[in-house]
Amino acid sequence: MTSLFRDNDLWGPLDPAADAGYGEDKPKRKGFFTDTSICIGCKACEVACKEWNDVPADHFDMLGSSYDNSHSLNANQWRHVAFIEQPARRTAPVDLGMPGHRQDDTPAADTPAADFRWLMSSDVCKHCTHAGCLDVCPTGALVRTEFGTVVVQDDVCNGCGYCVPACPYGVIERRTAPEGAKNVGIAQKCTLCYDRLGAGETPACAKSCPTQSIQFGDIDELRERANRRVAQMHEAGIMDARLYGNDPEDGVGGAGAFFLLLDEPEVYGLPPDPVVPTRDLPQMFRRATLAAATLMAGAAISFTSRRLVPRLLSTSLGRRR
């Protein structure tokens, strides 16, 4: 191996906190499992996040495209509920496990099926195992916490903005507005409520979620729960149900915040098969080194075509001695 990087440093399964140097006594990796099949689009998570983290109001427009008026994940929006209306797919109703809405209460034959369906999904920073933002941060402002999450240190970030295009999900952003708000000019995103985690509390969004669509916990346990849930839905005939971001062998080494979706990821504004850009970094450095050598050689040839070599040997070196 000639690589400057250790195995699985850039991608592949990894315990990110252990890789970052936290010892044996570190807590288990924490994350979110967002089950979008039971999201009701109430936006309690958005509000709770803003309240707890003191995230300023911004992008406050009526967008006119759907019930989603908070636009996107961005510097001032760390939870974002997507809202999609689409023509219905013919599937049997599923028991959502919610009181008063059991499968056998509402036989499908009696009620005419709606000709459309609503998809709602609360999106958030994925806290990737291999986080593009953290990899490329040149100041060390972005750090891996003991919980395996990714957090910006506001007092270190110099606002270079490199993390913004690095993120394969378009999550992190440099705060530009509102004027006078704290941390303007600095990269901002979900911290997975690092302060609450430290006090043994649940992140604000998960705490406020009335349907437990946002579930917080140890990643290992959440992954098992997600697998059980998707199996349950498949059994009930909801073959659209699929997990997104749960596989530790995927392009970002598994996300710390993963999802159960009911349609293709891009329908929700998520990339279908994201890969952390630094996966290709060793190759990029090799190409750049080769290019640098080409430039050096080209410059040398521009001079040698007449007389560099003889002069270099006889005159220049001779005179310096």
């Binding site: 952003e173 440099r174 290019a291 430039l295 410059a299």
Partner: protein, 358 residues
């Protein structure tokens, strides 16, 4: 008018179309809603079948403005100038050496100014030096510049002393002799200064930058060589500009050839290089670079030809950097360039999964 508003006028039907069958129509619509002139160009693109969330971007474009492509240009100019200066020093071309060293420092100073100006918190510029991080091309670049800068500065300072007090000595040693090692070390660090900027752009999720990672370093070093030779043709006398003419032709050829190969390997994400502002810049870059390289045939005999072709090469390099930068920004703003290549890869190879032997 925001793209969302444009879509909103489409009403309910519009909302549906994005999640179902023919979202190709969305790109055209959004383009039309954004700016009149661009709409026409966009509609020439064959609609690729893809789905998105109300046509909103998936990845975010970098927050960088013109400072960054200007820095890419100036960094390359500095690097190429240091190489020319070192060669001129070793081959007794004092005027070429002088112009190269001064140009390198000038371009480097401009670069640093642009880099600091671009920061969200310019006062924290020195935080770049808190860490040395191999996974961050910007950190690697900062350290390359930190190594290159002082030697580049020392070589130029020696030149200034020579201008003010020709033949000056420090003790028994001539200043000119002292600056030679500085100039040579600067030339040693110069090629990475020119090539790392390609990794800086490529190591992102910006579709048209990342997809270019194999060829972009060669495009950038070619562009750097062309720019520096261009400036040397403008400033150095005819008698000494031979190496600059040769480097200009070599650099321009490398730039154009590798840019061509790059576009072939990028697939769909090459599209933005032909559209809108990026398209205009890339076309201008090609014309200027070809004209500048052709002009060097006369630049050994005619001072006017040297100045004109040198200026064309400089402008060509400027346009290349701004064109590549702008193409990336355009590719990030349109979800098509994120979603479609990933979908195509999924269909071709299945989902990306880690294999230890990779």
């Amino acid at each position: 008018m925001t793209p969302d508003n444009a879509v909103g006028r489409g009403g309910r039907e519009g909302v549906r179309s994005q999640t179902t069958a023919v979202p190709g129509a969305w790109g055209a619509r959004r383009g039309g809603g954004r700016a009149g002139g661009r709409g026409a160009e966009r509609s020439m693109v064959p609609p690729a079948e893809f789905t998105s969330y109300y046509g909103r971007p998936v990845v975010k474009p970098s927050p960088w403005k013109g400072e960054i492509p200007a820095y890419l240009f100036a960094g390359g100019l500095a690097a190429g100038s240091s190489l020319l200066a070192a060669g001129a020093d070793l081959t007794d071309r004092p005027a070429l050496r002088r112009s190269g060293r001064l140009a390198a420092l000038g371009a480097l100073t401009f670069s640093m100014g642009a880099l600091v100006r671009d920061l969200g918190k310019p006062s924290r510029f020195l935080n770049m030096l808190r860490v040395a991080k191999l996974t961050s091309p910007m950190s690697v670049g900062t350290w390359i510049l930190s190594a290159y800068g002082p030697f580049c500065g020392a070589a130029a300072a020696g030149e200034v002393v020579e201008i003010l007090a020709p033949g000056a000595h420090v003790g028994p040693v001539r200043v000119a002799a002292l600056t030679r090692p500085a100039g040579l070390v600067a030339a040693l660090f110069a090629p990475p200064v020119a090539s790392y900027t390609a990794v800086l752009l490529a190591d992102t999720s910006t579709p048209s930058w990342h997809a270019a990672y194999r060829e972009l370093p060669f495009v950038f070093v070619g562009s750097a060589a062309a720019a520096a030779s261009g400036l040397a043709l403008v400033t150095a006398p005819l008698a000494e500009n031979g190496p600059a003419r040769r480097l200009a032709v070599g650099g321009a050829a490398l730039d154009l050839l590798m840019e061509h190969r790059m576009e072939r390997s990028m697939g769909l994400t090459a599209e933005p290089l032909h559209q809108g502002k990026a398209g205009r810049l890339m076309r201008a870059a090609k014309v200027l670079t070809v004209a500048g390289a052709a002009g060097t045939l006369l630049a050994g005999r005619s001072r006017t030809a040297a100045v004109v072709s040198g200026a064309a090469l400089l402008a060509g390099s400027w346009c290349t950097r701004f064109g590549v930068f702008e193409a990336g920004q355009q590719s990030a703003r349109d979800p098509r360039y994120t979603v479609v290549p990933q979908r195509e890869r999924l269909e071709r190879e299945g989902p990306v999964r880690y294999r230890p032997e990779d």
